[in-house]
């Protein structure tokens, strides 16, 4: 049986983590290929809805990463983002959404090795946690609908077409 391969989406800032991830590659450091990187101008730009959309669309884990405090290209984007994450994380946990599936990190443009660590660490965690079907179940609109409604519609279509 094949092992579960987690799908990870990484939301990263252009100036630090994206450059850091580039460095991981140019340094020929090998790391898990489960991650799909989405580049943003700044961590301050990463709307919390993007994280929810990633989970709904099939992500099992999420990485959100940007410049270290005081290193933001736009001076304070990461400080604002940090406040938002604190609140968002607290709310998700209160609602029972698995915050262990979201890894927040600061990775600078010089930290190629740290990026590989963050990704590998997240992949290991998510592999242990398994696929995030719980959340996707809520996302599936048709499955939730009473099957009788769909059956009823089919019967109606049949009766109309037989006229």
């Amino acid at each position: 049986m094949s092992e579960f391969e987690p799908k990870i989406v990484a939301f990263v800032c252009n100036w630090c983590t994206y450059a850091g991830a580039d460095l991981t590659g140019t340094s020929r450091i090998k790391y898990a290929s489960n991650v799909k990187i989405v580049r943003f101008p700044c961590t301050g730009r990463i709307d919390f809805m993007l994280l929810l959309k990633a989970f709904a669309e099939g992500a099992d884990g999420i990485i959100v990463s940007g410049c270290h405090p005081n290193d933001c290209h736009y001076t304070s984007g990461n400080f604002h983002a940090r406040r938002r994450w604190v609140i968002f994380r607290g709310l998700l946990n209160f609602m029972g959404i698995d915050v262990n599936r979201i890894q927040f990190s600061w990775v600078s443009a010089a930290e190629g090795a740290k990026w590989a660590d963050v990704v590998n660490g997240t992949v290991t965690t998510i592999r242990e946690l398994g696929p995030y079907t719980e959340y996707r179940k809520a996302a599936d609109y048709l499955v939730q609908q009473d099957k009788s409604i769909i059956d009823g519609q089919e019967a109606l279509i049949k009766s109309v077409s037989s006229l």
Binding site: G90, L91, F94, F104, W106, Y141, Q144
Partner: protein, 279 residues
């Protein structure tokens, strides 16, 4: 001469409130008075434009709804000078609306009835802040019990609880209509480029809506519980914004009275803000 209606039992202080409202309307200091009148089961909001009607006014412990929601209603208020009887939580909302420049204090007469059954008129925001710090905060026992129950649950149980509760939501947006802070003329759920939240009432779309509603209240919520009280299904959605209030208090060392009268929680920051989850 106004005809005084008989005072309702246990509401001897309504008389003083009615007298104040009468004076305000008569002198033209306010053109519209927003208060409570006796309803079928609970007190309900009433809008008084003439002195003939002030006899209806009441104010007691049952008047917990947040009347501040009407202060941003342009169709109702227009350019009128308005008087309002504000509950404890409505006072917080008024402070926040002033901070956000949605209302002007010079066109507003803010009244409340204290625990000592005195009618208090607030002249400045500092007076309101001072009152909020000394007056007892109304407690909602049911909520306290439910929060304790939720906090004792495992994460999986909490998810079961919230996904089951929120799956019932049919998106009537009564929670939004009842909230003094939801005054945006275009809400995220009416936005369709991009369509952040699907318009139908599926579990996920409902969860997303309530997360958005709560997140948009960060540092602004008065914790009045009006959203939950307005819900026709009785879903405890006010606990979500209550949780946000708690997070702001715990993490940014801002209590709710400070948060509503001061800086915004999310558009300001401190370099020394604490977190323990960022690698």
């Amino acid at each position: 001469m106004i005809e005084k209606k008989p005072a309702i039992a246990g509401n001897s202080f309504s008389g003083e409130l009615q007298k104040t409202a009468n004076e305000l309307l008569q002198s033209g200091e306010v053109e519209l008075f927003i208060g409570y009148e006796e309803g079928t089961r609970f007190p309900r909001p009433c809008f008084i434009a003439s002195t003939d009607e002030v006899g209806k006014l009441i104010f007691d412990d049952r008047c917990t709804g947040n009347l501040a929601v009407y202060l941003t209603r342009k169709d109702l208020i227009g350019d009128k000078k308005v008087g309002i009887t504000a509950s404890y939580f409505a006072l917080r909302s008024i402070l926040r609306l002033l901070t956000e420049h949605q209302i002007q204090l010079d066109k507003l007469v803010v009244l409340t009835v204290s625990a000592e059954k005195e009618v208090i008129r607030f002249a400045t925001t500092d007076d309101i802040t001072a009152y909020l710090q000394t007056a007892p905060i109304p407690v909602r026992e049911d909520d306290k019990a439910l929060i304790e129950k939720l906090n004792a649950m495992s994460r999986e149980e909490r998810w079961e609880f919230w996904s089951a509760e929120l799956s019932k939501c049919f998106k009537c947006y009564a929670c939004r209509a009842a909230c003094p802070m939801c005054y945006c003329t275009k809400c995220i759920v009416e936005e369709n480029r991009p369509q952040w939240i699907q318009p139908w009432a599926s579990t996920l779309a409902n969860i997303e809506w309530h997360i958005n509603r709560a997140m948009h209240m960060t540092g602004r919520c008065a914790d009045c519980g009006a959203c939950g009280a307005a819900c026709p299904l009785g879903l405890p959605i006010h606990l979500l914004s209550h949780q946000i209030v708690q997070e702001v208090t715990d993490n940014f060392a801002l209590d709710v009275n400070q948060a509503v009268s001061g800086d915004n929680a999310l558009s300001t920051f401190k370099p020394e803000d604490k977190e323990n989850f960022i690698k």
